[in-house]
Symmetry: C3
Subunit: 484 residues, 3 copies
């Protein structure tokens, strides 16, 4: 701690948010690198290549409709919407950081998915005959998943970092993700279709650790901008709802064809419905006069989808999904009420969007639910073939049994947590270097730093312009309506 503290002091400096050289440099160089690496490594797979016709005949596939594209493309598009509109708009709730929320989310997702195609490709889709990565629609989904981990982490540091820092965070985040994913899914042989462990637990702790490393003791100087305004809260609901609605597609996007996708969608649909009710209940119960808090409705209603991620493809049963959602709505909302302020005050973790309550905790719960459900699987419930298919007890793992699978699931969860925390501390160190162009403590949560803002002044009548001129800028600048 002492070492960390002094490192922090070393990095304190006069802040300069001018990224005119660093941001274009990073974008150009990294995008050029992507082109070169794609040129060397990435090709179409047999289902997206013009040789598909021959492949079809050779493999006796009766119709084009059996191309994986038709199994997964609708889910892919739903996931794509979650990544760009869902995450992007969920973060627009701050009254004066909507451009940064949706814009930087757009930037890092667009970069991250390219890097993810490479990193995940090397681990999972490398064709050893020619050393090329062969990609199809499933790779696109996995790249979006990988990016989701980094966007979760963005939630913790929203408004406090520069776009260059976000790019660095994404570069390392995707790399760490691909490694932990390979360890968890391939080496440990845990199942995690919806990514409770691989995506949410990892992404959550990765972001929290970075936020801890980047602790800003004087962040209250920006407190005037740390809240929402009426319309920004409505914008955030666009994000919430698209995440909520498409989460069944998220959890079912890469599960087995047929019953696997079908069941995962049903389980997620139910868990999410249940979460909404307990979130509303707790939000009302713990507020003065029983009024609901938009922060809870925007975030905690999604916790059920996170927590059912691992077990969604198992025979969790419809009531099991409801129970998972029930508990997560409660835990997540209580987290916003008690845990977030506690973490900020005592653990020095400033979590702008409360990702600990929405991703990290529900992710851990999801890992545990997955382990229990796997350990409790029986042939009478799954059927002989169903058990083998669902848990992929094939190849090197053909002697696996459900109880041991439960242990592997738990091991996978531990790996995700370790990678998240360890990786976050490492990357947090890098991000403390005084070269990234992040804003000073009294200038956070403000789009002014990185965006040309529309000059709303020109529409202000003279008397107000005079007032504007007179008053302290700190107290007045907001884009939200102000006559309430």
């Amino acid at each position: 701690m002492g070492c960390v503290q002094s490192f922090r002091e070393i990095c304190d400096r006069q802040k300069n948010t001018n990224v005119r050289l660093s941001l274009p440099a990073v974008c150009f160089v990294w995008q050029t690198a992507m082109i070169i690496l794609f040129g060397v490594f990435i090709r179409y797979n047999e289902e997206s290549d013009t040789h598909w016709v021959e492949h079809r005949k050779a493999n006796n596939i009766s119709s084009d409709i059996e191309n994986d594209f038709y199994f997964r493309y609708p889910s892919f598009q739903d996931v794509h919407v979650m990544i760009f509109v869902g995450f992007g708009f969920l973060m627009t709730f701050l009254k004066r950081y909507s451009f940064g929320a949706v814009g930087f989310n757009f930037l890092i997702a667009a970069f991250g998915l390219q890097w993810a195609l490479l990193m995940q490709g090397w681990f999972h889709s490398l064709d050893y005959t020619d050393g090329k990565i062969k990609i199809g629609v499933e790779n696109l989904i996995n790249a979006d998943f990988c990016v989701a981990g980094c966007l979760i982490a963005y939630g913790a540091v929203l408004g406090k970092v520069s776009p260059v820092q976000l790019m660095v965070m994404t570069l390392f985040g995707v790399t760490l993700f691909a490694v932990e994913e390979y360890i968890i899914l391939n080496l440990i042989h845990a199942r995690d279709a919806g990514g409770s462990m691989v995506i949410h637990t990892f992404g959550g702790y990765y972001g929290l650790s970075i936020s801890w490393m980047l602790y800003r003791p004087n962040l209250d100087q920006s407190s005037r901008l740390q809240g929402s305004c009426y319309h920004s809260d409505v914008f955030a609901m666009i994000g919430t709802l698209f995440l909520w609605m498409f989460w069944p597609s998220f959890n079912s996007a890469i599960t087995d064809h047929g019953d696997g996708q079908h069941r995962a969608a049903i389980n997620t649909y139910l868990a999410l419905a249940s979460t909404v009710l307990t979130t509303v209940a707790i939000s009302s119960l713990f507020q003065k006069h029983g009024k609901l808090d938009m922060v809870h409705i925007q975030n905690s209603t999604l916790a059920g989808g996170v927590a059912v991620g691992t077990a969604a493809e198992f025979m969790l049963m419809p009531y099991g999904s409801l129970i998972v959602g029930f508990c997560c709505g409660i835990i997540s909302t209580l987290g916003y009420i008690y845990l977030t302020p506690f973490m900020e005050k005592h653990l020095k973790i400033q979590d702008t969007c409360g990702i600990h309550n929405l991703h990290a905790m529900p992710g851990v719960i999801g890992g545990i639910v997955g382990a229990i459900t796997a350990a409790a699987a029986t042939e009478s419930v799954y059927g002989r073939e169903g058990l083998v298919n669902t848990f992929d007890f094939e190849g090197a793992f053909k002697d696996m049994v459900p109880t041991r699978q439960g242990g592997h699931q738990a091991a996978g969860l531990c790996v995700a947590i370790c990678f998240g925390i360890g990786g976050g501390i490492l990357v947090g160190c890098i991000l403390r270097l005084p070269i990234w162009g992040d804003a000073a403590d009294d200038n956070c949560f403000d789009d002014e730093s990185y965006w040309e803002l529309p000059e709303d002044e020109e529409s202000v009548p003279p008397i107000l312009q005079y007032n504007n001129h007179m008053r302290n800028k700190d107290q007045s600048s907001t884009h939200c309506s102000s006559t309430k």
Copy 2:
């Protein structure tokens, strides 16, 4: 009427909008009940169960792609978006009730779909061998449909009821829906794929009857909040467009595989296109200076989708769809101009969103169009097999002929109207009890009652804060821009 009047007086009381005990209690108890009932009754069906592999082989199904999931999941997701974003955002048009619109819509839909899975399951998906309800993607779509009926009713009482009342309204609404649906589809053997009768007519009259029972003579005291503001109208267009675009999926989601889904989508697409033009025409023609009214564009453009619901799967013909849309755009817009004020003044029905013009009337038209189209069906147009498939002239109804089917369709429409009005009056009585926490007449359409609102004041310059302090709160509070 006299009896109703005195009942109203009995229920008049000092309003208290504190729902801190009632709302959490309802959410917790009902969600717990759902878990128990799901535990007892609900299981996966053969297409979402791990036994699918065996089922596939036993039934000689050549590929996983023939799992019903792939026929219906894209449509399901579109319907899901309509329910949560479509209905939710359509109702955000009020300047100061956007949280309530999108938030309570979210709450009651999430509860309603669980209850609908049970209620519809008992009627339609009960497996008599083991007494369980077996669910798959089609059940999810039907649950969303069922919820749509209640959300339509919410439109009539928007801003005037408490969340607890909405939950009660949804509980009874779903129950009534499941019964009338069973009577109309199974006993009467009417066809209603897009739910013109079952969803829109029922939901519309259900909501209007409740609104009539809850008549507020002094609602004009809230008139300052009953309008829209510029940005809230743009938010509402998000709802309008997602409803409009995905309506073809709504009307085709549960029609027959193959040509049934294909035809229903085409008919709905065309009817909706036609409605837009006549809505614009009437809106411009009946306003001073030919200016368009956003209320019409937001709502009446959707009437064609409602009215083509029943007949969309029939051979309505492309020009038939256009004609239906043409008429509904006119009728619905005229309804907003003349009928809504008339109903409020003379019939004591206060219809916040104008659901009579958007759902009730077009729903009745849709029922009539369905009856006529069915009665006019001939073997020369449909083909022998096509006729049997389209109207499901099988089993107990294998001797049915088109003309008689037309009569059954008309009978179904009457049942929907009766259930809507009767159920609405019954539920309206219950909702008048002085225990539900609804707002007083001068406090309607105001999120203040049930939501923690962002404190926009902190950003107001001193001179304005002083003004804010001085002026009558009633006249000033709005989140919309106010310097125009």
Copy 3:
């Protein structure tokens, strides 16, 4: 030019924006004409007709899932969202023209798609045995595509024309589109699945030419309304993101079943990702202090999708897609910085949304990329069958070779440009007639002209109302927050 100039002077007149007679008349008459023409010409095709069952058996189709509906409907819905939400919200960026942006977009798209079904049907789907146009889901997609061309053109004249002018522009635009599409795709036998040439190049130059013909020398009198405000920029991001996310569906919607759709989606996904990074880089590099400009983020990030439209179905290779996106992000952003002001000042082309940078230039680049990729195609890369399938070297074109195909692609591009410019000048002449109800130069970009606006005044405190009354209306009227 002199002739054009004097024509302009002839058409100058006192402007009157009252469209109370013309707009309803156009809507009613044209919609009635549509009904009659649909009645005479349009029927269901064999996949959406009740005879599908018999067709299936006769053609030995094993399952309903092979109905084209299941291949294309998810893509169709994505395209539909792009047309109505994508284009509609992208144009809401103006602070006071959001109703017109999203509302008129809605109107002309709803009309255009009906007219497109007829025009394209006569050229492509006419059944010569009975003289009827047979439609299915692919026709709906093509109608949406055709409409896209007109919506692009709307972007150039946004805020400067009346809804009646827009209807006329759409009527002619769809007609011209259908002819040039027939020439390019059928006579010249160019391939253009994503419409770089047919849609974007044509639509772009069509709109620019109209805007040139409608040049307003005193448009700076409306300059107070020509910018965005904070929330209108966030609304516009909704449009941007839905266009960006669903562009893979746009470019793959009508490509070949199987690998064709699969590959087009992958290429578009990659090109768009690459564009985001170079757009951000250029935007930051060319602004003071490295701040990003929302105009670039909203528009230039989409240029990669346009430019990869033609070649997306070819073996462009993943790195090829990245390169195309890389270049287009740079060119498009530089276009906004240098070319748009230049064109306004020196060429008298006022391009409200910068469609030259987003559609016209990238469309031309897309045509060139398509020609090069086609000319470079080899049997070793595509496979013998793959080459024939991808370029459709069948029937009258069975002797075609890739190099010659490249020439045909280039010829197609020229046709698109000629039709765009020629058609635009012609239609621009018509639109200069003094009968269309467009606004005066000092009243552009203002919803006041054609919409009943919500009376935000009622919520203004007395002191402000007084101020409102006193001050010059020109300087004050805006719906955006004004206390910043």
